[in-house]
């Protein structure tokens, strides 16, 4: 039987419409045809529906913009929030300190759109054209050099996960959520050139001992970093989580000083001057204290961890199995161990590290837990590769010979253990309150 001879019988359909339909290379045309067909027989078969118009189909679909560069689901509403003390943007449009919603993060990567933000004074997020941007290295070097962004990208690169944490990231009894207590830290995969590569290219001179790094934003935020650190693992980073660094993290290029407090991780990096002394810039003021121990604690972050689920403001629907989840990090190196207590710190059991514990990076931990429905307190503490254990607030208060009041403040970067109280209804509260 010849297929072509056995054409569909179309006596009850407008032959003309069909011809136009099947030959049309215009998509709207054939859709119109389809609709016409459906309409023609609508009386005959109950279940038939008119072909929806193209506009309706398009509305259901995806815009060109979403294909080009996608966004998250409209049902995902997690957002960064200004610290309680000051709105960002403020009336001037300045951004100051913005907490990341750690309770909504998965794994070790902080989504770039939700990475915490802090600036040196309250600053505009500068609008920098990368074609115009330069990074200059000068001072006590044999060969000062100035690099375009293209130059930097031609050089050997490294890719590393690192956290950044603001010195202001300290839990207070007045806060409710982990976003408020610990939200001034985030973690990303950074790609860039080792600062040592650039410094060697310039030839560091004898007698040099510090660098001053400086940004291109309006306040020209600067910081002093020991040359030893600069030559060790500092990174001139242009990539963040696979794409260009985000504007609020320093686009087009920032300095990463792994493990040091956030203020040293100079954003919008435009200049590094090699010098022979601590330069005591405005941003270095955080270290101004008469106690050398307090100064030491302000420089780097100690081992620190926090449970992000369950955490303050959340509610457990009832007794049963819950996987406790959290983040651990240290400015001193990689996390080696995380322990979890579900009885207010009386007993501790090992949690599991669920992501590779990179040096100076967030590591995700998990802990199997069955909630019996009774009020309890959950805590986490971590140990880093140097064997330093995250301290309790009581230990720190004792070290400083201060009373452990609700308002007690650990000096320097606060890395004390955080507690969440779970009541019998499953509501979760700040354990410091």
């Amino acid at each position: 039987m010849d297929l072509k001879q056995r054409d569909l019988k179309q006596q009850d359909l407008k032959q003309q419409d069909l011809k136009q339909d099947s030959k049309s290379s215009n998509r709207r045309g054939f859709l119109k045809g389809g609709a016409a067909l459906a309409g023609l027989a609508a009386g005959a078969v109950q279940s038939a529906k008119a072909q929806p118009p193209v506009a309706e189909l398009r509305a259901k679909g995806t815009s060109k913009e979403q294909v080009a560069y996608g966004d998250r689901s409209k049902y995902e509403t997690s957002v960064r929030k200004s610290v309680a003390e000051r709105a960002s943007p403020d009336a001037f449009g300045l951004v100051f300190h913005v907490n990341a919603p750690l309770q909504d993060f998965y794994g070790s990567i902080s989504p770039s759109s939700l990475h915490y933000v802090a600036t040196h004074r309250g600053a505009f997020v500068p609008d920098i054209d990368p074609k115009e941007h330069r990074v200059m290295i000068h001072g006590m070097v044999d060969r000062p050099l100035i690099f375009t962004m293209d130059d930097l990208k031609r050089l050997p690169f490294v890719t590393r996960q690192h956290f950044v944490e603001c010195a202001g990231n300290r839990a207070k009894s007045t806060q409710t959520t982990v976003q408020e207590t610990h939200g001034l830290t985030s973690n990303a995969e950074y790609t860039g050139v080792l600062l040592s590569t650039l410094l060697k290219e310039c030839g560091v001179q004898k007698g040099a001992s510090w660098i001053v790094a400086e940004g291109a934003e309006e306040v020209k935020g600067a910081g002093s970093i020991p040359l030893g650190k600069a030559m060790d693992d500092c990174l001139v980073a242009y990539g963040q989580n696979g794409e260009a660094l985000r504007p609020q993290q320093g686009y087009p290029v920032r300095l990463m000083v792994p493990g040091f407090e956030g203020i040293f991780q100079i954003k919008y990096l435009r200049r590094i001057k090699v010098v022979d002394q601590f330069y005591m810039t405005y941003n270095d003021y955080g270290h101004i204290t008469t106690d050398a121990r307090a100064a030491a604690l302000a420089n780097q972050v100690g081992p620190k961890s926090v449970i992000t689920f369950p955490s303050g403001g959340q509610k457990l629907p009832g007794p049963g199995y819950y996987e406790i989840s959290g983040l651990a990090w240290s400015g001193q190196g990689a996390i080696k161990k995380v322990e979890v207590s579900t009885d207010g710190g009386k007993t501790w059991k090992d949690g599991e590290l669920r992501t590779t514990p990179y040096r100076m990076a967030h590591t995700r931990f998990g802990f199997h837990w069955k909630w019996d429905g009774k009020a309890c307190e959950i805590l986490s503490r971590c140990t880093d590769e140097l064997g330093t254990v995250q301290p309790s607030r009581a230990q720190v208060a004792k070290y400083w010979n201060e009373p452990l009041t609700k308002g007690f403040r650990a000096k320097g970067m606060d890395n004390t253990i955080m507690a969440w109280r779970i009541d019998a209804e499953g509501s979760i509260h700040n354990g410091l309150a």
Binding site: A84, E85, R86, F96, A118, H120, R121, M136, H138, P144, R154, L155, A167, G168, R170, T197, L199, K200, E201, G203, G207, S209, W210, E214, E218, V219, K220, P226, G228, D232, R271, K273, V275, D276, Q277, F278, M280, T281, Y282, Y285, G286, H287, I288, T289, A294, A295, A296, L297, N299, G302, Q332, L386, V389, P391, K398, Y399, R409, G412, M413, D414
Partner: protein, 200 residues
């Protein structure tokens, strides 16, 4: 300034220096011109050796403080605006409001939250006004203006005694700030070393 003990890493450096001063390996990037360096080289160290020529008095500074809009944010007298107080003795910047996050950990002695008083060196004060002020016109102040506004803040905070005292490269470098001994030396940084021995 000799008390600053600037060279913290001498031992490490002596060992590593040879490796660091190697020949260029990549030939990427170009040599900046002297002018390019000068235009960006704004950082003033604590010893003030980079301070540019110029001068000013507190009297001139008082006028510039208002003229340049500083008073709009910091309060006309340096106190009482929404921006941090620049003069001691007044109420906090915003009554009843804590220090902004990030400044809380600084363990500031009362009143040394005032930058002019916290700063162990006058050069740093000059540096910050020069690079970071005023809002939205950062970096536009001329050296004379920065000297004058610096003098104004020093005078208002009783660091200098006369509103006619001339502040310049020399006087600023010699000025002994109240907080000169109010800071601990930054600890040396060594890879794989805990930030503070015996801290719990």
């Amino acid at each position: 300034m000799a008390s600053l003990k600037p060279v913290l890493l001498t031992a490490i450096l002596a060992a590593a220096q040879i490796g660091w001063a190697q020949a260029p390996a990549y030939g990427v990037g170009r040599t900046p011109t002297a002018d390019e360096i000068k235009a960006w080289d704004i950082a003033i160290g604590p010893d003030g050796k980079e301070l540019p020529p110029g001068k000013g008095t507190a009297k001139e500074g008082a006028r510039l403080f208002l003229l340049k809009g500083c008073g709009g944010c910091h309060g006309a007298t340096g106190i009482g605006g929404r921006a941090p107080a620049l003069v001691k003795g007044g109420p906090p910047a915003v009554p009843g409001q804590a220090m902004p996050a990030g400044m809380e950990g600084m363990h500031m002695v009362p009143d040394t939250g005032i930058m002019a008083l916290r700063s162990p060196y006058a050069a740093t004060l000059w540096d910050y006004i020069s690079r970071g002020m005023p809002l939205n016109r950062e970096g536009t102040l001329k050296p004379d203006e920065v000297y004058a506004i610096t003098a104004f803040l020093l005078y208002k905070n009783e660091v200098i005694k006369s509103e006619d005292e001339v502040m310049d490269q020399d006087t600023l470098r010699k000025l002994v700030m109240p907080n000169r001994k109010g800071y601990a030396e930054i600890p040396d940084w060594k890879r794989n070393t805990p930030r503070l021995a015996n801290y719990p």
